[in-house]
């Protein structure tokens, strides 16, 4: 199976990631801060090192990195912690359901005022209109996807975050599609990402990276391994966001993935992925009936959506599957975007290559239909 679905999850994982997960199961077996044995110390050391690596990746102190089950949990917790009744929230039509659905639920519960910025005809959302909207609308919170999981459009997050800061707006960056590919030190107040996409960690682990200036009170209560005698959940970070037994094997895996990533460098992985996208786009463009939904070339991640005049995306998905190529067809959990792309009826076919692919893999994929 040729994996062209890295926007969903990366595969295969680096061998070191598997080895680290296995090491936990074989010889560690316990959580950090949950006991006095030598293995607890070992676990604590790896968890702390992983926090440090993530802190460096996002430009926050390690104590402001909370491990969560994934970006979905992280975004839910952050939005619930940040948003007060009647708040004005600015967001974009690119958002994934992990932002859209919490916002819609909070809109119902807390009467939020939502403003959704659409992409332009080139499937871009430049920083200038974004900054203008911040000025005009004066939201209290702005939450946006660093890059679209449908079109691969990457937003100019540094400029947008600076503009938000100018109007006193708190920014939440959904870096699910960019962590491991783009620089996350863009000045966002909070960065949330999952560990199993371009970071190449295992599923079941993600993180929230919050600047110390942003108060994020607990949204779930439970055991933390600290303040054990108290019956109130601690408000100190990262315990505030880490109720319950942590997914330590996945943290071990993510730690190894971050080490691997530091050797590979995000820039190199991005370049390789974009090279694959260019090759796929060139191949697809030569096929009659294909319409590519590419973003402008300057800022993007390795995601390529397309539609076809006579073949439904689900039919194309079946043809790729028959050629042993894993792609995604349909709406990709981006409910607001398809109306703007003209793909509201059936969605798109999405190819999202990873660094491991060979030219032969790409040729196989292109021969699927």
């Amino acid at each position: 199976m040729i994996h062209l679905d890295h926007a969903a999850t990366s595969f295969p994982k680096p061998p070191a990631v598997l080895a680290a997960v296995r090491r936990w199961f074989e010889s560690v077996g316990v959580s950090a801060d949950r006991g006095d044995g030598a293995n607890c110390v070992l676990a604590a050391r790896t968890v702390a090192a992983t926090r440090e690596r993530l802190g460096a990746l996002c430009g926050v102190p390690p104590a402001r990195i909370a491990f969560v089950s994934g970006a979905t949990e992280g975004l839910n917790l952050v939005l619930r912690a940040l948003l007060a009744p009647g708040d004005r929230v600015l967001t974009t039509a690119f958002e994934h359901s992990s932002v859209v659905r919490p916002l819609v639920a909070l809109q119902r519960e807390r009467g939020l005022q939502l403003e959704v910025l659409p992409p332009d005809a080139a499937r871009d959302l430049p920083a200038a209109p974004f900054a203008a909207a911040l000025q005009r609308w004066r939201p209290r919170v702005c939450v946006f996807a660093h890059a679209s999981n449908v079109t691969g459009t990457a937003l100019d997050a540094a400029v947008i975050c600076a503009a938000a800061r100018d109007v006193g707006c708190t920014t939440v960056l959904d870096a699910s599609q960019t962590a491991g590919l783009l620089d996350l030190r863009v000045g966002a107040d909070v960065v949330v990402a999952s560990g199993h996409k371009a970071l190449h960690g295992p599923p079941g682990i993600g993180f929230v990276a919050a600047q110390p200036r942003v108060p994020l009170p607990p949204q779930k209560q439970g055991g933390t391994g600290s303040s054990r005698a108290l019956d109130e959940h601690p408000t100190e970070w990262p315990q505030a966001f880490e109720a319950g037994t942590p997914n330590t094997p996945a943290i071990f895996g993510l730690g190894a993935a971050l080490e691997w990533l530091a050797e590979q460098t995000p820039a190199r992985l991005l370049a390789r992925g974009l090279g694959h996208v260019d090759a796929l786009a060139a191949g697809l463009a030569g096929k009659p009936g294909v319409r590519l939904l590419l973003p402008p070339p300057e800022r993007r991640v390795p995601v390529l959506s397309f539609v076809h005049d006579t073949l439904d995306p689900s039919e194309l998905g079946a043809l790729f599957a028959a050629a042993s190529v894993q792609v995604r067809s349909g709406f990709h959990c981006a409910p607001w975007l398809h109306a703007h792309l003209g793909t509201a009826a059936a969605g798109t076919v999405r190819l999202s290559p990873g660094p491991e692919l060979t030219p032969a893999d790409l040729a196989t994929a292109l021969a699927a239909f």
């Binding site: 073949l311 689900s314 039919e315 599957a321 349909g330 709406f331 409910p335 059936a346």
Partner: protein, 337 residues
């Protein structure tokens, strides 16, 4: 016992036979033409418990031959197992009737509270028949194969100990090669003729009489009815009769997944096949609308649903959301799962 007086007068049944029938449980798999005929006859004959399983709904095209259903059932689109159970309960209140709206899979069979005394085949596809074959072989229960298409029918008792369906055909026939009622049509008396044999054999099994050996075949249009002799012993290399393997019990069922945000279901056969789309197109012929063979796939419309079928066996069914219904339509029109 007035109700069964005509039946108990028969030498082969008598009061003791009637008591045995009353103490028995029958499983009828599939509630189409064969299943409704069989269920109706068994309930009227005074069986103790009847379990019906069918995943499909009543449609207008069923009324020509599926005797338990009414126009009201078709209008309401009632599940066949529900409509049949209701009708049967009105025919004989003494029978414990359970209608299951479900796919007859190994997992479903495992949920039955007990083993039935006899299993009657009312299915329209071979994968399910092989499942019944293997399940009955493993649990030492007799089953009775039956099938009808056009004006012809065939039926056969598969006794405990074989010979079984695998002794005759080690592998299920390819769906593309088998005619179906949808494409070849079906004359109701062909069903009745096959069902008569099937139910009589079921009653014989239940009262402890010796079942017929051989394959009963008929062509009601030609007026030919015969019992073809069959060897008495299982095939020496039959894995199922020798108790070595029950492949259909281990095979996963077809998967059917509703497509996110679409009025469509994707059906995948349990393992990839090389489906001859040209042969399928020829077989479907005029029975379907808007038949279109493209370079990559075969499209057609049937039963109000748009099908896209791929050589791998995968199909997309547009205009349906219920996976059970999609699987039923898949088996009906594509014929393998």
């Amino acid at each position: 016992m007035d109700r069964y007086s005509r039946q108990t007068r028969l030498a082969g049944i008598g009061l003791e036979g009637q008591r045995r029938i009353r103490a028995s449980t029958a499983l009828v798999v599939g509630c189409g033409a064969l299943g409704t005929h069989a269920a109706d006859a068994l309930v009227r004959a005074g069986i103790g418990r009847l379990w019906l399983v069918d995943r499909d709904i009543v449609e207008w095209s069923n009324l020509q031959r599926q005797v338990l259903f009414t126009e009201a059932d078709a209008e309401r689109g009632l599940p066949k197992a529900v409509a049949a159970a209701e009708r049967l309960a009105a025919a004989n209140r003494d029978v414990a009737i359970e209608g299951h709206v479900a796919d007859c899979t190994a997992a479903f069979l495992a949920t039955l509270p007990a083993l039935p005394d006899v299993v009657l085949d009312g299915t329209d596809n071979f994968p399910t028949r092989y499942l019944l074959n293997d399940w009955c072989a493993r649990h030492q229960r007799p089953w009775i194969y039956a099938g009808a298409v056009g004006t012809e029918g065939a039926a056969m008792v598969v006794p405990v100990g074989g010979p079984c369906l695998r002794c005759l055909w080690p592998e299920p026939p390819n769906g593309a090669d088998v005619g179906s009622c949808e494409t070849a049509g079906i004359l109701a008396p062909a069903i009745a003729a096959v069902s008569a044999f099937q139910v009589a054999e079921a009653l014989k099994l239940l009262v402890g009489a010796t079942p017929s050996r051989g394959v009963y075949t008929c062509d009601v249009w030609r007026g030919s009815y015969q019992l073809l002799a069959l060897r008495a012993e299982p095939a020496a290399d039959c894995p199922t009769c020798s108790g070595r393997a029950f492949p259909a019990l281990d095979a996963p069922p077809a998967s059917a997944v509703t497509l996110c945000g679409r009025d469509a279901v994707q059906v995948d056969p349990p393992d990839r096949r090389d489906l001859d789309l040209d042969a399928l197109a020829r077989r479907l012929g005029s029975a379907t609308a808007r038949l279109e063979r493209t370079e990559h796939l075969l499209r057609f419309e049937a039963d109000g649903v748009r099908f896209s079928v791929f050589a791998s066996g995968r199909a997309l069914l547009f205009g349906v959301q219920d996976p059970l219904r999609a699987r039923a339509l898949y088996d009906r029109w594509i014929g393998l799962s």
